[in-house]
Symmetry: C2
Subunit: 241 residues, 2 copies
C-alpha cells in the first residue's frame, strides 16, 4: 500500500478458514488415527488427511459444472470419505463411525496465532468468515475454537463456491461495504486472485505448515497482494491493529 493509494479505507476483513484460520491437516490426522487405533489399523494419517482434502476441489468442481446438485461441504466430505476409506484400511468403519469422523471437520483446531490475531483485528475491522464450509460447520468451528467472529458468512448463503465471483461480491453486499473496502485474508493465492478480480483488497497469510513441513509453498509475485504476512499477529501489526 502506497501513500498514493486512493481507494477507500478497508472496513471489513473476510477470512478463508480451512488452512488459513484452522489446521485441518493435524486435526483430521489426529481423529483418523484415533478411530483407526480403535480398529487396530495402522497407517499414515497425515496422508489420509491429504487424500481427503485432495478430493475437495474436484468435488466442488462437479457441483460448479452441474454434475452434482448443490451440496453442502458436509455432504461432499462424506462422499470423499466413503471413496478413500478402503485405501487406508478403514472399510470396516460403520455408519456411526463414518458420520462421526466426517464431523471432525467441525472440530478443527485454530493455528496458535488465530484467536489472539482475530481479537486484535476485530478492534479495528468487522471480521467474518468467507469459506466454502457450510454455515453450521463454520458456527461449530467458531464455538470449538473460540474464534471471535462478528458474523459467519458461508458460500452456502450464495449457492456458489469460491472462487465464483458471487461469493466475494455477496459478502460485500451483506456487509454493506464496497468490494474495495473488503479485504480477503487467505493462505491461498488462487482465492486471493479471484477476490482481487472482483475489486477486493487482499492479504496473503503464509501458512508454511498447512500441507506439512517441507511441502512446497504456492508461487506468487511480489506486489501481487496488498499485504503478505507470516501470521495474523503480523497482519494485525501491519494494519496498525
Amino acid at each position: 500500500m502506497t501513500q498514493s493509494d486512493a481507494r477507500p479505507a478497508v472496513q471489513a476483513l473476510a477470512f478463508d478458514v480451512f488452512g488459513t484460520v484452522v489446521d485441518w491437516r493435524g486435526s483430521i490426522a489426529d481423529e483418523a488415527a484415533a478411530v483407526a487405533a480403535s480398529h487396530g489399523v495402522e497407517g499414515d494419517w497425515e496422508a489420509f488427511a491429504d487424500a481427503w482434502r485432495a478430493g475437495y476441489a474436484p468435488a466442488m468442481d462437479r457441483v460448479r459444472r452441474g454434475d452434482l446438485p448443490w451440496m453442502s461441504i458436509d455432504a461432499l466430505h462424506r462422499l470423499i470419505l466413503d471413496s478413500i476409506v478402503e485405501r487406508f484400511g478403514l472399510g470396516a468403519l460403520d455408519e456411526d463411525e463414518r458420520a462421526r469422523l466426517n464431523r471432525a471437520w467441525h472440530r478443527l483446531a485454530p493455528w496458535a496465532d488465530s484467536v489472539e490475531g482475530l481479537a486484535r483485528l476485530k478492534r479495528h475491522f468487522t471480521i467474518t468468515t468467507l469459506s466454502n464450509g457450510n454455515f453450521s460447520l463454520l458456527v461449530d468451528l467458531a464455538r470449538h475454537g473460540a474464534l471471535p467472529w462478528d458474523c459467519v458468512i458461508s458460500a452456502e448463503l450464495f449457492g456458489h463456491y469460491k472462487p465464483d465471483p458471487e461469493t466475494y461480491l455477496g459478502t460485500a453486499r451483506l456487509l454493506d461495504v464496497a468490494p474495495t473496502a473488503l479485504m480477503l485474508v487467505a493462505a491461498h493465492p488462487s482465492d486471493l486472485r479471484a477476490a482481487k478480480q472482483q475489486g477486493c483488497r487482499t492479504a496473503y497469510v503464509i501458512r508454511k505448515l498447512e500441507f506439512g513441513a517441507g511441502h512446497p509453498l504456492p508461487d506468487y509475485t511480489a506486489g501481487e497482494f496488498d499485504y503478505v504476512a507470516d501470521d495474523f499477529l503480523d497482519l494485525a501489526h501491519q494494519l496498525g491493529a
Copy 2:
C-alpha cells in the same frame, strides 16, 4: 416443559433483536433529541421513536404483498423517516442528517441484562439473531453492544420477513438442527406463535419497558409458550445455563 416432553433437546436459541435484545425506543429518542436540539427544535422524542417504529410493520407488509420490491430495513426505515420528519418539526434535516439519523438503528443499546445473559446462554446453546433487521445492521448492533453471538442470521438471507415460515425454517436449516431443537426467544407473542407453528420451541421474554412505562403488555395464554422469563438472566436460570 414437563418430564413427559419427548421432543429432542434444544440445541440453538434464535433471538428476535429489536425490543428483545436492544432498547430501540430509548436509543432512537436520544439520537432524535440530539439532532433536534442542534436545530433548536423541541418535541416528544419518545413519541417520535414510537411513530418511526409504528411504520415498520405496515412497510414490511407492503414488501410481503409485492407493493414494494424486497427492501432492506435500512431502506424501509428511511422511507418511514422521510414520512414523519415534518410532523415532528424536523423537515429541515438535510440528506446527511437524515442518513445519519437513519443509522441510529445500527447503534441501539442492549438492555442491561442482554450481554451477561447471552454469554451465559452461549455456554450451553448456539446463539444467533433472527431479526428482520438487515445483516449489516445486525453486525453493527453486535459490535456496538458487544453482543456475543455465535452467528448473525437475518430475514435478508431468506428474502422473507418474519413471521413468514421461511425465516424460522431457514434458520433451522442453516444451523443444521430440527425446528424442534431450535427455540425462538422474543418479546413479541405474535413472532413466537409463528415460530411455534413451524415446530420451534418458544421463550417469551417480557420486556415491560419496550414501549415505555405503563404501556399495556401483549396478551398471551398460560402454557402457550415453553418458557416465560423476566429477562435473559431469568431465562438462563430456567434453562440451567
